[in-house]
């Protein structure tokens, strides 16, 4: 399968600040939903901006759909949609916004938009400036999914969404993607995307700390809770009500992944093999 994202030895820093990315490299193929995880300030949003061409990466180490993002040719922008964490929308009705922006995207699906707006209980007559933060977020997610862009970059998409909306978000994202699309979801709220993502990408201190399909992690490790720690088997443990949450090496049975525990294990340099 063709790589949609190719990043090779990316170095990046803002002005005279310390390096945010140091020789960061990874590739990613279509047909996946990637969870981009990292602590605050790890550079998740910056990486999405670099991938969408909003920031310039020195020496052009990034190729997305065969293009250098910062060149920003329209054929690239027609296939990449970024939902930023914070954004400002014009003071127009939803219908007017769609009328103005949908023609830019060749694969835009109006029926899909209509359906997702219904799921999110939004009306096309609503004025964007009158909507709450969460409602605007829902609208921009609905619009992004309806563009059918090959690459969707979602930066903290569940921030501001209420609990039912988070469930709807997971449902619509999972239901509306085609095999030739790739979604990268950046978040620090791992629980929100736990059952959605199929690939995990963890950033820490300017490097990719883990990049692995979920099934691979589930096959290799077991995530359980025990009352007492047994030395030797445990790769990582955390104190939890009633005992310890642990990660052990287990090749026998696939288990549900505790994403938070895994994230903490990776960040704390537990000896996990990918």
């Amino acid at each position: 399968m063709e790589a949609m994202i190719e990043i090779s030895k990316l170095n990046f820093k803002y002005g005279k600040q310390v390096k945010l990315f140091d020789q960061l490299s990874f590739t990613e193929q279509t047909g996946r939903i990637v969870g981009l995880l990292g602590k605050n300030g790890a550079g998740k949003s910056t990486l999405l901006k670099l991938m969408s061409g909003l920031l310039e990466a020195p020496q052009k180490p990034i190729t997305i759909i065969g293009e250098t993002p910062f060149d920003r040719p329209p054929r690239f922008l027609e296939e990449v949609y970024l939902v930023p964490e914070e954004y400002e929308l014009p003071s127009v009705k939803i219908g007017e916004y769609v009328k103005a922006h949908a023609p830019f995207y060749p694969s835009f699906d109006s029926e899909k938009l209509h359906q997702i707006l219904l799921d999110f209980e939004l009306n096309t007559n609503n004025r964007l400036s009158k909507l709450s933060y969460g409602q605007r977020k829902k609208f921009i997610i609905a619009f992004a999914l309806s563009t059918n862009c090959k690459l969707l970059l979602l930066d903290e998409p569940t921030n501001g969404l209420d609990i039912p909306s988070k469930a709807i978000f997971r449902k619509v994202v999972a239901a509306s993607l085609a095999d030739d699309q790739l979604v990268v979801i950046s978040t620090h709220q791992v629980k929100d995307v736990e059952n959605l993502i199929d690939t995990l990408l963890i950033l820490d201190r300017g490097q990719v700390k883990m990049h692995s399909p979920i099934w691979n992690i589930a096959q290799k490790y077991a995530f359980t809770t025990v009352s007492r720690l047994n030395d030797g088997e445990v790769l990582y443990s955390e104190l939890a009500p009633g005992g310890y949450k642990i990660i052990t090496e287990d090749n026998s049975t696939a288990s549900d992944i505790d994403m938070e525990l895994l994230f903490n294990a990776v960040i704390n340099n537990a000896n996990l093999k990918q």
């Binding site: 803002y14 901006k49 969408s52 061409g53 909003l54 920031l55 310039e56 920003r72 040719p73 329209p74 054929r75 690239f76 922008l77 027609e78 990449v80 949609y81 970024l82 930023p84 914070e86 954004y87 400002e88 929308l89 014009p90 003071s91 127009v92 007017e96 916004y97 009328k99 103005a100 922006h101 023609p103 830019f104 995207y105």
Partner: protein
């Protein structure tokens, strides 16, 4: 294919429609404000005056309002680049930097040059008609003991006929240059673009004047090429050279604006 990526008329049309749908309220508000300001000021000026508005007495008022409102309007070009969040949304729209530049130049400079004269004509003419009606009907052709008379509706013929050949063209190019410099400033500065543009280009202008003064007066170069130039060209040729210089500087500023747009980041 490469050219299609640089400028595509269909895509440009989509972008124009998108920008107008998003910004039509601000555009209408601006033109409404211009219309009302011209109307109100005209009414104030001619209600206290008995001779200024006739013949081409309205021209200074026309030029002052043109400069102030035009520079204000152009100074707010690229409204999306005034804050980070909107910059981000704007830069993700699938258009080229050149298409963005052309649209904004048309909306903020060309459209202003085209729309300002008729808006000024309509609003000032309405003020003149109201003033004439008011003066004759209420005061019976006498205000504060002074006999009133009907003011003339303005005529643009005098813009050309009262000026030397070529001078109007040079003034026109000078106006274009002023607008283009502010336009370039709007693409460069995020906050207070108009003020920063005026300060920066004002300093550059002063530096050029100072340099020329040093060359001509202090180093005595006046007696060489400038003298030859002064004696060998007509006024019309001089105006044409001036127009050409202003045009070239405008083109340079537009090229600079293009590269500023192309290199724009949303950090």
């Amino acid at each position: 294919m490469k050219n299609m990526q640089f400028f595509n008329l269909k895509r440009f049309g989509k972008y124009a429609a998108c920008s107008l749908i998003s910004n039509y309220r601000q555009i209408l508000l601006f033109w409404g404000a211009i219309w009302f300001a011209v109307f109100a000021f005209t009414l104030v000026i001619i209600s206290n005056s008995h001779s200024m508005w006739n013949n081409d007495g309205w021209m200074p008022f026309f030029i002052i309002v043109f400069c102030i409102s035009g520079l204000l309007y152009t100074g707010f070009a690229f409204p999306s680049f005034r804050n980070k969040k909107r910059t981000l949304t704007e830069l993700m729209i699938p258009v080229t930097a050149f298409e963005r530049l052309v649209y904004e130049f048309f909306e903020k400079v060309v459209a202003f040059f085209i729309l300002y004269p008729p808006v000024f004509f309509i609003s000032s003419s309405l003020a003149v008609v109201i003033r004439n009606t008011f003066a004759f009907k209420i005061t019976r052709a006498e205000v504060n003991g002074i006999e009133t008379f009907p003011f003339e509706i303005i005529s643009f013929d005098k813009l050309y006929t009262n000026l030397e050949p070529g001078l109007f063209g040079m003034f026109f190019m000078l106006a274009v240059l002023g607008f283009v410099l502010v336009f370039a400033g709007a693409a460069t500065f995020r906050k207070l673009p108009l003020i920063k543009s005026i300060v920066v280009f004002g300093l550059i202008f002063l530096a050029v004047i100072g340099y020329m003064y040093m060359l001509l007066e202090k180093l005595g170069l006046r007696n060489s090429w400038l003298l030859i130039l002064e004696h060998n060209i007509t006024a019309k040729q001089g105006f044409m050279i001036g127009s050409l210089i202003f045009g070239l500087i405008s083109l340079t500023a537009l090229t600079y604006t293009y590269f500023k747009l192309k290199e724009k980041e949303a950090s």
